[in-house]
């Protein structure tokens, strides 16, 4: 690295060099593998002292998982499809609402009030309301996920807008841009990290919500299959589905991290000592 591109260290903050990033990633992977192995071991030991319907061994759960993936894979696809559609829709509408909250003097206060009221309504209330309002299970699940996820995007984008430095706005204004140009060259690039942050934050929550919603409102999808496994006393299947959901969460988080790294490569990654 030459002098020009050498990151400057500040007291208390150490800018990570590229090789350190790789080793940190490896350390995290190793830690994850150790934790999984530890949990599997604890499960194996526990299974020897309890009944199968209380705690099955990891091998039994593994077999159940293989069965589920070969027989019930369509339920995984359906759940992922619901999740993807709801996240994309919430992202688009939530970002638009967030932008309007921060830029429209007329509509902003009303939208902000609406979003804040929405955040105060428990997820369970929405689930019950959705059962009354919609006959179609797909509409129910889509509605539940959307009303829960959308405020996260709207509020975070709104905060992102408020965090735009006044200096940057003045700099843009000195070139006399149109409102559309301010949006394109300043606001949109500035809020992209906030959108990523929100997406990463809501993935785990969204998975939990879609499972709940499927449990309450649908006959297909992972949630409904978990309900079926519970009603037939198949704890191995419940655990297999749970394990699969954890894997799905990790995979989706990794995909979001990867996309973030590619799109936000301009950011200097800081590491606090």
């Amino acid at each position: 690295m030459n002098a020009m591109s050498k990151p400057l260290d500040k007291p208390g903050i150490k800018l990570a060099a590229k090789p350190a990033e790789g080793s940190a990633g490896r350390r995290e992977l190793i830690a994850l593998a150790v934790v999984i192995a530890g949990l599997a071991l604890a499960m194996e030991i526990g299974s020897r002292f309890t009944e199968d319907y209380i705690l099955p061994s990891p091998v039994v759960v593994g077999r159940a998982l293989i069965d589920l993936l070969t027989v019930d894979y369509m339920h995984v696809v359906i759940t992922l499809g619901r999740l993807g559609m709801a996240i994309v829709f919430s992202l688009i509408v939530g970002v638009t609402i967030g932008l309007l909250m921060g830029t429209s003097k007329k509509a902003g206060p009303y939208l902000k009030s609406l979003v804040i009221i929405d955040t105060g309504i428990p997820a369970l209330s929405w689930m019950l309301i959705a059962v009354f309002w919609f006959k179609d299970p797909e509409a129910r699940i889509f509605f539940i996920l959307t009303v829960i996820l959308l405020p996260f995007y709207a509020l975070n984008v709104y905060e992102g807008l408020r965090a735009i430095p006044r200096d940057w706005v003045d700099m843009m204004e000195s070139f006399r841009p149109s409102r559309l140009q301010v949006m394109r060259y300043l606001i949109v690039p500035h809020i992209v990290p906030y959108i990523f942050l929100t997406t990463k934050s809501v993935i785990g929550y969204a998975i939990r919500m879609v499972i709940f919603a499927e449990l309450v409102a649908s006959a297909v999808g992972i949630g409904s299959r978990m309900s079926f496994a519970q009603s037939t006393f198949r704890i191995d299947q419940v655990m297999a589905w749970t394990f699969l959901l954890v894997i799905l969460n990790l995979a989706l988080q990794s995909a979001a991290n990867l996309a973030e790294k590619r799109l936000l490569k301009w950011r200097a990654e800081a590491k606090v000592r």
Binding site: M4, S5, P7, D167, W168, D170, M171, M172, E173, S174, F175, R176, P177, Q181, Y185, L186, P189, H190, V192, L264, K265, W266, R267, A268
Partner: protein, 258 residues
């Protein structure tokens, strides 16, 4: 619009108040086309308020401000493409590379893509940053960033360039080199430049005329400086003392130093 005999910038009896605080009091001054003019004063003298009024981002309460024949605040868009500003901090957008930051003004002026890239690369070369085109902001030093900021301002080929304490955050040597380079570019391309500074040496080094402002902003001393004067160390030293005296003799405390 102006003709050659008219001042390019004029302020007549300008007054500006923020609440009870009077920031600008009966300020009158003129800047002619092709001049480099310094607005020099202590912190709080109202220099930046004057600059904001010239940029059109705030309106005066009384008096008249004209830039290139128009009121910069009332006719905000009339100065599109005619003026550019470089600020105290670089204000570069971190998601853009050096060359993309220089392109910003040209993109706002809807210049063709190829022309925009060509002009941005040429200006990066002129400010001695060839080879850093694809560096992101965090990969550049403070001096480099300020150079990119100057290139961004000059790339739109403005008739008028405003500098708001653009060199004051840099170390002495970098600041000296940068302002010399900047003055040379401005004179070569025949731009009109108004720059705000609290450092006497910045003003004496590159300005054709210096307006020394006392708080609230009003001209307490006006000086003409040329190459002949600059060559005479004794005269420059006397000018420095005159300015320091006009400012109020508290230059050390307020960061006004040589």
């Amino acid at each position: 619009m102006t003709n050659a005999s008219q001042p390019f910038i004029s302020l007549k009896n300008v007054y500006k108040q923020f609440g009870d605080y009077v920031a600008v009091d009966n300020l009158s001054m003129e800047v002619h086309r092709g001049e480099i003019v310094a607005l020099l004063g202590r912190t709080g003298a109202g220099k930046s308020t004057v600059m904001s009024m010239l940029m059109g981002t705030i309106a005066c309460d009384a008096g008249e401000v004209r830039v290139a024949g128009v009121d910069p605040c009332q006719e905000f868009d009339a100065l599109r493409g005619k003026m550019a500003v470089s600020f105290q901090t670089d204000r570069l957008l971190p998601w853009r590379t050096a060359v993309e930051n220089v392109e910003l003004g040209l993109q706002i002026l809807n210049r063709p893509k190829a022309e925009t890239r060509r002009a941005a690369l040429a200006w990066l070369e002129r400010v001695k940053l060839k080879g850093t085109e694809d560096k992101y902001v965090h990969e550049l030093s403070g001096g480099m960033r300020q150079r990119v900021s100057l290139a961004r301002a000059l790339a739109v080929d403005p008739e008028l360039v405003f500098l708001d304490e653009s060199f004051s955050q840099l170390d002495h040597v970098t600041s000296q080199v940068l302002r010399k380079d900047f003055a040379q570019i401005v004179r070569t391309y025949g731009k009109t430049c108004v720059f705000v500074t609290h450092r006497i040496e910045d003003a004496l080094d590159i300005a054709d005329r210096i307006f020394v402002l006392a708080a609230p902003a009003r001209v307490c001393l006006e000086l003409q400086v040329d190459a002949q004067l600059r060559a005479d160390a004794d005269v420059m030293s006397r000018l420095h003392d005159d300015i320091a005296h006009a400012i109020g003799g508290e230059e050390q405390e307020e960061g006004v130093h040589e």
